[in-house]
């Protein structure tokens, strides 16, 4: 009798936790896409929660401090870490993505302070959604600059 009570209690808690996890996942899932994938999906994903990663094209960075509106282009980079390693590491992949004019690019709009790490050939990981105008509206902007801190070897010393 006593055991049964605890068993029922345990099952109730388990069910509640599973419900919490599943419902929260459904409500907050973000689809991780590369820029190529984003472009190929067309209008089907307009408005969905997306997480997109790309290489920041330095020449295109524009910032209006009056309205705190930041716009820049990002170029397609592979989404898979293994693929990035196979192509010679993040720094190299980012560099090639930016200098290659044939890469798929997308314009990003972000509102807020200009992040300190935003510069040419940084990796931008953005959450937000695709607007009907084809521009990516970023709500959150995470930047990584592999060139500065993860460079394996210093430049040749003089």
């Amino acid at each position: 009798m006593g055991r049964k009570k605890f068993l029922v209690g345990g099952v109730v808690i388990l069910a509640a936790v599973i419900y919490l996890i599943i419902s929260s996942t459904q409500a907050n899932a973000e689809y991780f896409l590369t820029i190529d994938e984003l472009k190929s999906q067309g209008t089907a994903i307009v408005g969905k929660n997306l997480r997109v990663s790309g290489a920041v094209v330095g020449d295109t960075i524009q910032y209006d401090p009056q309205t705190l509106t930041l716009t820049f282009d990002v170029a397609n980079v592979p989404g898979d870490n293994k693929e990035i390693d196979a192509q010679g590491g993040l720094a190299k992949v980012l560099h090639e993505a930016v200098v290659d004019p044939k890469r798929t690019r997308i314009q990003v709009v972000y509102s807020g302070p200009k992040p300190d790490l935003l510069k040419d050939e940084a990796q931008a990981i953005m959450t937000g959604h695709l607007g009907t105008d084809g521009v990516f509206h970023a709500e959150e902007l995470l930047l990584k600059c592999p060139t500065k801190y993860q460079e394996a070897v210093p430049n040749q010393a003089g």
């Binding site: 808690i13 996890i21 899932a29 990663s53 401090p65 302070p113 200009k114 500065k148 210093p154 010393a157």
Partner: protein, 688 residues
């Protein structure tokens, strides 16, 4: 020369660690006390050895030996000396040395105690701690050598290795790259060591648990022996988490302190299992229950500690913490896998010996509520773990990478944390063995009503937000229940012994430090909850570009842009520092703030440092976003008002006080409580 010495010592330490493992196992199996003693001495030799290696590393760091690649990566000429020293744990290779240094120190401390009747544990404690040390030493010896140097081959290639490759000549870069500016902050200097202290201390209870499983001495001796270690570990880990949050708040400039970043989660996960462990060992000590569960918890904690070290140091996940990247992932996973499987195998082998001595009877008994607390902590752990591995799972199943962000964690953990708070209000009133709704109701109704009054007052004067009021009700309930319990205990002493109230209060705490230290911790958690709710529910923000003397209003504050200046700091930083005046809504001057942007030329990176005005009611947090000297349009600011956030930091201090009470005052209540019949809480019978 120093590099060779340092590396040589690391290699020797690695061999010594392996020897101590081998000798301990052999000596124990063959019953040769002399061999076990030799294993113990080998293990005691580890700390001096690693200290010497670390000293060589620090000399290299301080001496600008940029031919060593680790030194090149984390220091530069213009860094102050204290930062060069702390750069020891500013990069991956150095922090692995730091880890093994702490591990060997703690293992030595444990080995130096008097073993007397616990001698049978000794060999196995040596085995576990030495294997762990050897693993980290192995990583630095074979994969991530902090002493590796740069060499240039005749065809111009630059190589990194310990010894000169064929025909290559040594290369000395003129200056280092310098520590990441984000890490040049006092919070970042003590945050990693705190976290590591917490991580490493948890290895000690794990080592004793494994020793108990192997020797078959599966009573609660291993728990009693390591009670203090567990508390210290918990204190350090908690402080590591809080310091990390404070650093994020002061340095990252997004107005918050916790972003559910995978690396934050990696540090939180062992904290969750550790907290559950801390509670459930009390049930084993008092009632002889949950023995198997406690072993599972400490095994999980150990695995999560190693996993956490790996995540924070490998850059495997994309996060703000991706300061390091390397190929040590497979080694970590192999080690975690091997220790986990071995531990679980031992647990299964001893499973029948670890059966409970009694059974859980009442759903409302203290032990049942503790069990519920454990389940809730484990649920938070499952949510965290799910969030971290969900992208991998979804990619495997659907081919589509799907991630979850902070909203997922907030939504999934909030009900669990709320339940934990409710439990914190009820559990201290329940009795071991058996409680009923009546006994609990009688104990709780006064604080519950008082908490309701507090909530109604808050509804009138502070907020109308229902979810916030629910949160504040729980906070008030826990604090009032805790204070009421404390007061009843002290009052009873005062009446029966004629002590004055404060003496009664002090003696009561001293008589049962674990219980009352725990009360301090509970109250501190509630204060921290107030801070977390404040910033999550009531944060306000605005932004704008101001001409000189222009102002921005937010909440009760007016921020007026007064002036701006640019200058060079001693460490070569270019500082752009604004002066803003702060006024309240009646126009009274409250003081000035100095938000600034530091530009580090060596790293070509900006850091945005907020100006903060902290009060118990809220924090005014002003960021200088942008300023162009060429155009005279003014400066751009972003302003946050973060209500109640300072309760978080105050809570953290009270938390430390609570743990220190529990750790430092010797615990006199060690006898087991055996309760088989219904009985009201002992505290209440004394008070009635």
């Amino acid at each position: 020369m120093l590099a060779e010495i340092g590396y040589g010592i690391l290699v020797i330490a690695f061999v010594v660690a392996l020897y101590s493992v081998g000798a301990a196992v052999y000596g124990e199996r063959k019953q040769l006390p002399a061999v076990v003693e030799s294993a113990r001495r080998a293990m005691l030799l580890l700390w001096p050895l690693i200290t010497l290696a670390a000293a060589s590393l620090i000399l290299l760091l301080v001496g600008n030996h940029f031919e060593v690649s680790f030194v090149y990566e984390v220091t530069s000429r213009n860094m102050p000396t204290y930062l060069k020293i702390t750069a020891w744990w500013g990069g991956q290779a150095g922090s692995l040395v730091f880890w093994s240094w702490l591990m060997s120190a703690f293992a030595s401390l444990v080995t130096l105690r008097k073993w007397d009747r616990d001698r049978e544990f000794l060999p196995w404690v040596i085995v576990v701690t030495s294997i762990t040390t050897a693993f980290f030493l192995g990583l630095v010896v074979f994969y991530e050598n902090p002493f590796a140097r740069y060499w240039q081959t005749p065809d111009g290639q630059v190589l990194t290795s310990m010894f000169a490759p064929l025909n290559a000549v040594a290369m000395l870069p003129p200056d280092g790259r310098g520590l990441n500016p984000l890490l040049r902050h006092p919070g970042m200097i003590i945050h990693p060591p705190m976290l590591y202290l917490g991580f490493v201390s948890f290895v000690i209870p794990y080592a004793f648990a494994i020793a108990a499983l192997i020797t078959g001495r599966t009573d609660d001796r291993w728990i009693r022996l390591t009670r203090r270690w567990t508390l210290w570990a918990w204190l350090f880990l908690s402080f590591g988490l809080v310091l990390g949050s404070r650093w994020a708040y002061d340095v990252l400039g997004w107005g918050g302190f916790w972003g559910w970043d995978p690396v934050e989660i990696a540090a939180l996960m062992p904290w969750l299992t550790g907290t559950a462990f801390l509670h459930s060992v009390m049930i084993q000590e008092k009632r002889g229950l949950l023995k198997q569960w406690n072993v599972i918890l400490i095994i999980l904690t150990y695995a999560l500690v190693i996993f956490g070290t790996f995540l924070t140091r490998s850059g495997v996940l994309s996060s703000v913490h991706a300061f390091a990247q390397s190929a040590i992932g497979p080694a970590f996973f192999a080690f975690i896998g091997a220790t986990f499987i071995t531990s679980i195998g031992l647990l299964i082998y001893r499973w029948p010996d670890l059966r409970g001595e009694t059974e859980l009877k009442s759903m409302l008994s203290r032990e049942a509520l503790f069990l519920l607390n454990n389940l809730l902590f484990m649920s938070v752990l499952v949510v965290c773990f799910w969030g971290v591995i969900f992208p991998l799972i979804s990619e495997l199943v659907t081919g589509q990478k799907v991630t979850v962000g902070p909203p997922f964690y907030n939504r999934a953990t909030a009900p669990l944390f709320a339940s934990l708070m409710l439990l914190m209000g009820i559990a201290p009133l329940s009795a071991w063995g058996k409680s009923t709704v009546q006994t609990l109701g009688r104990a709780i109704w006064k604080p519950a009503v008082a908490a309701l009054v507090v909530t109604v007052l808050l509804d009138f004067f502070y907020t109308r937000l229902a979810i916030a009021l629910l949160g504040f009700y729980l906070v008030a309930l826990v604090i009032l229940v805790t204070l009421y319990e404390y007061w009843r205990g002290a009052h009873a002493r005062q009446k029966t012994r004629g002590e004055n109230f404060f003496a009664a209060f002090g003696r009561l705490t001293a008589r049962n430090p674990r219980r009352y230290g725990g009360y301090f911790v509970h109250i501190s958690m509630m204060l921290m909850a107030v801070g977390i709710m404040g910033i999550n529910m009531f944060q306000k923000e605005t932004q704008g570009t101001l001409p000189v003397n222009g102002d921005l209003k937010l909440g009760e504050y007016t921020v007026k842009y007064e002036s701006i200046a640019q200058f060079n700091a001693v460490d070569n930083r270019q500082v752009t520092r604004a002066v803003v005046g702060v006024y309240d809504n009646k126009g009274n001057y409250l003081g000035e703030l100095h938000p600034r942007i530091d530009y580090y030329p060596d790293a070509q990176q900006n850091m945005t440092i907020p100006g903060e005005r902290a009060t118990m009611r809220d924090d005014l947090y002003v960021l200088l976003v942008d300023w162009q000297p060429a155009t005279a349009t003014g400066a751009t600011f972003k302003i946050f008002v973060n209500p109640l956030v300072n309760w978080l930091w105050i809570g953290a201090l009270i938390f430390a006080l609570g743990i220190l009470i529990a750790v430092l005052i010797p615990d006199r209540e060690t006898e087991r409580v055996v309760v088989t019949r219904a009985q009201p809480a002992q505290q209440s019978s004394a008070a009635d």
